[in-house]
Every structure is written in structure tokens, then in C-alpha cells.
């Protein structure tokens, strides 16, 4: 080969390599941690299947009971207002992390509850352990609550995995590493399973999964922040509502995962939205509760809550009243149409993490009881319409989880090492 030919060969080789490198990185992107924000496309994960166990994907119990996350227990759950402690099962949490703890989920098969230690249990209705599952991989364990259908239980953990377990045996059905962390609770709605996932950088997105195969069907676009908010289903408009720590609230199409509309608030949106009456209601660290039209994302009202808020509004059926806790140490009843305060009960507990359970009063048909933490380790039972205190009970510890009612009992997961209490 002459020098000229050699020269031409290397010039051609240089051209080829320049072409190939341009193909590999056409826009000369530089990875700086925000790379995924540039491309606006969230991670999509794969699933490991361990056994086949098909179910309807219709919830028999889940966080805040229903797809709209109303916080209202079904008519079959009617504990009396003046409950007492029936049993206490310890240990449960170890208080590694100060976020709200995993709330129990209860159906006719038993009690499903996670712990910040990483343990997830099925217990009988008296709290005795039937089977257990240990989930490692982070210091935070499990903070979300389980969703349950007639055969399987679904639980996400801070190691990023969403698991489906056989309710009867505790055997693993599938596991999908949806994100790097999961702090939220899964939602069974419209025959699918939804979960808010988080990544290291930090960012987050919503994922839709097939509840039987565990396969990821779509992932939303990036939320620009972690998502501690559990998704809520708006059946009428075929969309999911979910908040993010970037201060955004997203309305996401259930079929495509595309964003129908999004809002930018002045503070993090950590609570689970409530869907009711054509509107979505949610709290924010911008110190307000907000109501927006579900169709177009237009503001209906906002109400100042006196401080950061990450609770979820609980619905009093038949009365257009929403109940929440405030940073001012109040439990308040809000008019869901106007956002005005209807009543206020000051208990002095300024924690803004815990949400309220609503049950029908067995002694007064069509009247509802609101169950809330008050004064740290006390449980208060109020009249949902008037806010009048009916009963309060000292518990063995504080709680940031949401009480769960099943038949005539109420189950509460307490903070630190205070365990699970069963009230009747």
C-alpha cells in the first residue's frame, strides 16, 4: 500500500468513525444527571413471574377503600363509635423514617400490613401472623399500603419493587422493579394496577401494570420530582390523578399514559387526591387545599389551611363535606362545593401527615363517623356532619397511618414499636 493509499484509508476511517459517533449521540448530549429530563421519557421495567394466579383485578380492599380514594368504608364496616382496645400485636414499625406508616388493609381473608422494618404480614382478624414476607433493599422498608383483590395482594416497597403475592399462601406471584423506590400505595382500578414510582436522581412517574402478569403497560412522563402521592382513578374521564414533590398534579390518560393536563402548585403535592362530583381535591405544601375541574384542570376553589398539608380529604357521603387535618391543630369540615369551612375542631396536634377514616354510624343510619388521630396518641371519633366529638381513646402510641375499618373492628398501625392495635 503506498503512502497515498494509506493516507486515504485513514481519512476514510476517520469519516466513518465520525459518522458512527454522530449516529450514537446525534445531539452531542452530555449526561449530567438531567439527561432523562432532556428526553422526557421514564424508565420501563420488566417483570419476574413465579406462578400463574389470575384474578379479576377488582379490589376487595385498598388504601382509602375505593378507586376515588374517598376514605369511606363500605356499609359492611360499621364499628361503633365508642370502641375500646381489643388487642395489641407487636412489634410492627421500628420508626426508621418519619413518613406516614403503612396503613393496614383488611378484607374477609385477613389483615395485610407492612412495616418500615421491611416486613409485610398477613394476619388473621385477631392479628395473629399467617405468613410473612421480608423485603430489604432500603432503610425505609414499606410505607405504602397494600391493595387486595380476591386472590392476590399487591404491595410496593422502598427497594423499588412492586410485588404480587398469593393471599392464601404468601407465595410470590410476580415482582416488578418499577422504580428505585416506592413509597406510595398501589391502586386497583378499571381492571389494572397503578403505582407511583421514584428514581434516585430524584424523579418519578406513574406506571400501569397488568395485575395478573405484572407486565408494565405504560409509564407516564417524568414528574420532575419524587412521587409520594398514591394515584386516584377518575372513571368518568378515564384518567388517573397523582401528585409529585415537584409541586405538580398530573391527570394521566388511563389507556395511553399521556398527560391530559397538569398543574404547577406552589408546594409539594404528597397526599392522595380525592375524586368526587367532577372535581379533584388535594392538599399541598403551599398551605392550601385545592379543588380543580377534572375535565380541564381549571381551578374551582382553594382554601388556606394554615400550614403545609399532605393529608387526603375524606368524604362524608351525602353531605358534600370533606374532612381533613390542618397544620393549625384542627380537624376541619370543608364544603366541597365552595371550599368554605363548615366546622372546626381544635385538638392541638399540629402533625399534618395523617388522614381520616369515615364509617357509617351503626347507631344512626346514614350518619357518618370520622376517625382521626388527635393529641398525638389519642384517637378521636367525630360526627362527620357537625364535627362534634363523640369519643376519644388513648392508644399505646402515636400513628401516622390511616385507620382501617372492617365489620365491627378498626385496625390501626402505630408508629415506632407500638404495634398493631385492634379496636372494637
Amino acid at each position: 500500500m503506498t503512502f497515498r493509499k494509506t493516507y486515504l484509508f485513514f481519512v476514510a476511517l476517520t469519516g466513518l468513525i465520525a459518522f458512527l459517533t454522530f449516529q450514537a449521540n446525534p445531539h452531542f448530549y452530555l449526561f449530567n444527571g438531567d439527561y432523562d429530563l432532556i428526553v422526557d421519557k421514564a424508565y420501563r421495567s420488566d417483570v419476574t413471574r413465579f406462578k400463574t394466579l389470575d384474578s379479576s383485578c377488582q379490589a376487595t380492599a385498598q388504601y382509602r377503600y375505593d378507586e376515588e380514594r374517598t376514605g369511606v368504608a363500605p356499609p359492611s364496616a360499621q364499628p361503633k363509635a365508642k370502641v375500646q382496645i381489643l388487642k395489641k400485636q407487636s412489634p410492627l414499625n421500628v420508626d426508621i423514617h418519619n413518613a406516614s406508616k403503612s396503613s393496614p388493609t383488611v378484607d374477609s381473608s385477613g389483615v395485610y400490613v407492612g412495616s418500615d422494618s421491611g416486613w409485610f404480614w398477613k394476619r388473621d382478624h385477631d392479628g395473629n401472623v399467617i405468613w410473612s414476607f421480608y423485603i430489604p433493599g432500603s432503610d425505609n422498608g414499606i410505607h405504602g399500603s397494600a391493595a387486595v383483590d380476591e386472590k392476590k395482594v399487591y404491595i410496593g416497597a422502598y427497594n423499588g419493587f412492586l410485588y404480587a403475592l398469593d393471599k392464601e399462601t404468601g407465595e410470590i406471584v410476580w415482582a416488578n422493579p418499577v422504580g428505585n423506590y416506592i413509597g406510595a400505595s398501589p391502586l386497583l382500578a378499571g381492571g389494572a394496577l397503578y403505582i407511583s414510582a421514584e428514581t434516585y436522581h430524584p424523579d418519578g412517574y406513574l406506571a400501569k401494570l397488568n395485575c395478573n402478569t405484572g407486565e408494565t403497560q405504560w409509564v407516564s412522563k417524568w414528574f420532575r420530582g419524587h412521587s409520594h402521592s398514591s394515584p386516584t382513578y377518575d372513571k368518568e374521564n378515564g384518567q388517573l390523578l397523582v401528585g409529585a414533590n415537584s409541586g405538580r398534579l398530573f391527570a394521566i390518560d388511563e389507556n395511553s399514559g399521556d398527560t391530559n393536563w397538569e398543574l404547577q402548585l406552589g408546594g409539594q403535592v404528597k397526599g392522595t387526591p380525592l375524586v368526587w362530583g367532577g372535581k379533584v381535591y388535594f392538599s399541598s405544601w403551599d398551605k392550601h387545599y385545592h379543588a380543580y375541574d377534572l375535565k380541564n384542570g381549571e381551578e374551582v376553589w382553594k382554601q388556606y389551611m394554615g400550614g403545609r398539608n399532605q393529608t387526603s380529604l375524606s368524604l362524608v357521603p351525602g353531605a358534600a363535606i370533606g374532612i381533613a387535618n390542618t397544620k393549625m391543630g384542627d380537624i376541619v369540615g370543608l364544603d366541597l362545593n365552595s371550599g368554605e369551612f363548615l366546622w372546626r375542631l381544635n385538638h392541638g396536634d399540629r402533625n399534618h401527615q395523617f388522614s381520616i377514616l369515615i364509617t357509617e354510624d351503626p347507631q344512626r343510619p346514614n350518619q357518618y363517623l370520622a376517625w382521626s388521630r388527635c393529641k398525638e396518641s389519642q384517637l378521636c371519633v367525630l360526627d362527620g356532619k357537625t364535627g362534634k366529638l363523640i369519643h376519644n381513646l388513648e392508644l399505646p402510641g402515636t400513628f401516622t397511618s390511616v385507620p382501617f375499618a372492617f365489620k365491627d373492628k378498626v385496625y390501626i398501625s402505630l408508629d415506632k414499636d407500638a404495634g398493631l392495635v385492634i379496636l372494637q
Binding site: T6, Y35, Y43, P177
Partner: protein, 407 residues
């Protein structure tokens, strides 16, 4: 056999460049000693302070063997290796003890190979290249030529691995570089050009081109120091020293450097050279023949160099199934090296150890392991493997080639 070895010794004795190169190759063992010594990496990896097995798949119970020696004994082994390496380096500079230098170098090469193979934590390109050139130096004919061809081949192989988004976007960097912005973009492209085009200048008949290329390579390794640490650049400086030795000797009129590029292109190189180069490239190609993305694999990429081709993220799923209890086992070590962080062999080793521990328990049913990985620039995780019952496998560490049991 004896004649073969005599020929090897004679080839080194008759070539001053090779004698001096023996000194520099011995230095790579001293760099290895210092690298392993630093932060007690070697002691930690070899002793029972390291609770993870981390074995090569062809030596599956290496952790049991490693446990036969105490911390102090492993420390003694390391120091012995370091001291012998130093002595061998000095012997290559001696005029009289060349036979002994050859046998000493054989010994330190075998010691390093044994230590390397006793722990998967010691995997890495630097060791791969040291082993390759040590074997060629000891046992290949036409040593000087084949070593130079191999050095060029190392760079070309590394350059090919860099034509991807991971390298070109800087995502593969293990720590932030000094450069940023457009200068970093250009530099990353230039490294590819250096390794795939400019590096052939080392084989040129033109002195200026050889020097230009050598200085480019030296600058590249010097600049990489702040990202990769001392070991990699020092190893490369030592391995490249053969070119400098020959340049120096040509400058003094002792030798004439032939055009190795032309010799190769015109088929004038020795048959053994062609065979060894072919073997090298087959070993580099092998991972691509058996796996879709070697950067996500473990055993599949053992035969090849694995440079900074990609940084990975992964989710291992290792579950112990008992009668009334499931335990998802945590990933083993938080401080694994970049290349090991998502290496299937790490998790297969962890599973293999758990199988040994759990099988005595009456509660134990099975152990399942699957691994999902992706390059940091990818948006979909790939299931690398999915083993429903690892403990039933005859060769668990080769599990990434086992047929998955996915439903």
C-alpha cells in the same frame, strides 16, 4: 518443552529491548501489589472480612478456599508477591541473572494469575492486559512484534466499545471529569478517534507519527488519572514502554524499527503472530456471539476486555422461599466496583452461597434469582436471567446461560 522454554529465554537474552521491557513488565506487578495494598483492598477481599463469595464461575467455591488462610497469612502472601516482583524487576536490569529473571517473572505471573482467579473482585481490564502481555513475553515467539500488535489491538478493542451513547455522552464516567460542556463532548469523541485511528501510528515507519501517537496516548492516560486513579495509567505507561525503549535504541543507532503496519498488511508477520491476533479478536467477539449486551453480562464477557463501555443500573431479585415465609435478600455489597455493581456473577455467587447455607433447613423450599439491568442511558430494563430454583442447577455460577423458567 525444555527446548521451547530455552528458545524463549534466548529470545529475551538476545534482545536488549526485551530485557528492559522485562523490567517494566515486572513493574506492572509492583503496581498491582500497590493497588491491592491500597485501602487493604486485597486483604478485605480475600479474608473472611468479606462476607461475599465473589468467585469466577470456573472456581465456584473459591471463598471456601480463601477462608483457609487468615488475614495475616493473606497479608504475607501479598507482601511476598510484591517483594518477589521487585526482585524480578531488578534481575532484569542485571547483566548476569537473566535466566533467573525469566523464571522469576514466570513465578510472579503465575502468582498473580492464581490470586486473580481466586477472587472475582479482582476482575478488570488492567489485569487482563497485564496477563496477556506477560504470557506473550514468556511464551510467544517474535515477542516484540506481537506485544506491539497486541497493544494496538487493546486500544482498537477499547475504541470499538466506546462508539455508544454511554461513552460519548459522558454517562460512562465513574467520576466527574475536569472538562465539561463542548470541550468534554469533543474530548470523548477524540478518545474514540485516538483509539481507532491515530493509534495505528504506533505501527508506522515514520518516526514523527510514532512519537505523535505515543505522546497522545501518554497525555490520554495522564489526564485519565484524576478519574480512574493511579493504577490504570501506571500500568499503561509500563506496557507502552516497549515503544519508548525501541525509539531510544533507534535514536542511538542500535536498531532499526521496521514498519510493523506494512508487515502485517503485506502478510510478512510470522504465522504465530497472525494466529495469536486472530485468537485475541475471537475472544473479543465471543461475548457478542452469546449475549445481546455484554456490558450487562458476567460470565459471557470473561473472555474479553470490558473498558468503560457503560455504567449500569440494576434490580436483583433474590428470594428465599420457605414454608410460611418469603425473604427477599438484599443485594450484597454497597461498595462494589462500577463494573461489578450489576454483574450477574455477583448475584449468582450470592445465591450459590445461600444455597449452601439454606439447604440444611427443613423450612427451605427453594431460592429464586432474577436480574434486571440497563445501561444508565437506556429506558427499558432488560431481564438478564430468571432462575426459579437456583439451588437445583448443577453449575449455578453459569446460571446466566441457563434456560429461564419465566411463565
Amino acid at each position: 518443552m525444555i527446548n521451547f522454554l530455552k528458545r524463549q529465554i534466548q529470545e529475551i537474552q538476545h534482545d536488549k529491548s526485551l530485557q528492559i521491557y522485562g523490567f517494566f513488565l515486572s513493574l506492572t506487578h509492583i503496581w498491582s501489589f500497590l493497588y491491592w495494598k491500597r485501602g487493604d483492598f486485597f486483604i478485605y477481599s480475600q479474608s473472611d472480612l468479606n462476607s461475599e463469595p465473589l468467585c469466577f464461575p470456573f472456581f465456584p467455591n473459591c471463598d471456601v478456599w480463601r477462608g483457609l488462610l487468615s488475614i495475616n497469612q493473606w497479608s504475607l502472601v501479598l507482601w511476598t508477591y510484591g517483594l518477589i516482583s521487585l526482585m524480578v524487576a531488578l534481575l532484569f536490569l542485571s547483566q548476569k541473572k537473566r535466566n533467573l529473571a525469566y523464571w522469576g517473572f514466570t513465578l510472579i505471573t503465575l502468582i498473580k494469575l492464581s490470586l486473580h482467579l481466586s477472587n472475582y473482585n479482582f476482575m478488570g481490564n488492567y489485569h487482563y492486559m497485564i496477563h496477556c502481555l506477560s504470557f506473550l513475553f514468556l511464551w510467544a515467539p517474535h515477542k516484540k512484534q506481537i506485544i506491539k500488535y497486541f497493544l494496538v489491538a487493546f486500544y482498537v478493542s477499547a475504541g470499538l466499545l466506546k462508539i455508544n451513547l454511554d461513552w460519548l455522552s459522558g454517562a460512562a464516567m465513574i467520576s466527574p471529569p475536569w472538562l465539561s460542556g463542548k470541550l468534554l463532548s469533543f474530548s470523548l469523541f477524540y478518545v474514540v478517534l485516538l483509539e481507532l485511528v491515530i493509534v495505528f501510528g504506533l505501527l508506522s515507519s515514520k518516526k514523527w507519527l510514532r512519537w505523535f501517537t505515543l505522546f497522545q496516548l501518554l497525555a490520554f492516560h495522564a489526564i485519565s488519572w484524576h478519574i480512574v486513579g493511579f493504577f490504570y495509567p501506571m500500568v499503561m505507561f509500563s506496557l507502552l514502554s516497549l515503544f519508548f525503549i525501541d525509539e531510544y535504541r533507534e535514536f542511538n543507532g542500535k536498531i532499526h524499527i521496521p514498519s510493523l503496519g506494512q508487515n502485517l498488511m503485506k502478510g510478512r508477520a510470522a504465522n504465530s503472530t497472525f494466529i495469536l491476533l486472530l485468537l485475541f479478536w475471537l475472544l473479543q467477539a465471543l461475548p457478542y456471539l452469546i449475549t445481546s449486551d455484554p456490558s450487562l453480562s458476567g460470565a459471557a464477557r470473561l473472555s474479553s476486555l470490558n473498558m468503560f463501555d457503560a455504567k449500569t443500573e440494576c434490580h436483583p431479585l433474590l428470594v428465599v422461599h420457605k414454608e410460611t415465609e418469603l425473604i427477599h435478600i438484599d443485594r450484597p455489597l454497597r461498595s462494589l466496583g462500577v463494573r461489578l455493581n450489576c454483574d450477574p456473577l455477583v448475584y449468582l455467587n450470592q445465591a450459590h452461597k445461600l444455597c449452601r447455607q439454606q439447604q440444611a433447613s427443613s423450612e427451605f423450599k427453594k431460592l429464586s434469582l432474577s436480574l434486571f439491568s440497563k445501561r444508565v442511558t437506556d429506558f427499558e430494563y432488560t431481564k438478564v436471567f430468571d432462575l426459579q430454583d437456583v439451588c437445583s442447577l448443577s453449575f449455578p455460577l453459569w446460571g446466566e446461560f441457563a434456560k429461564g423458567d419465566d411463565l
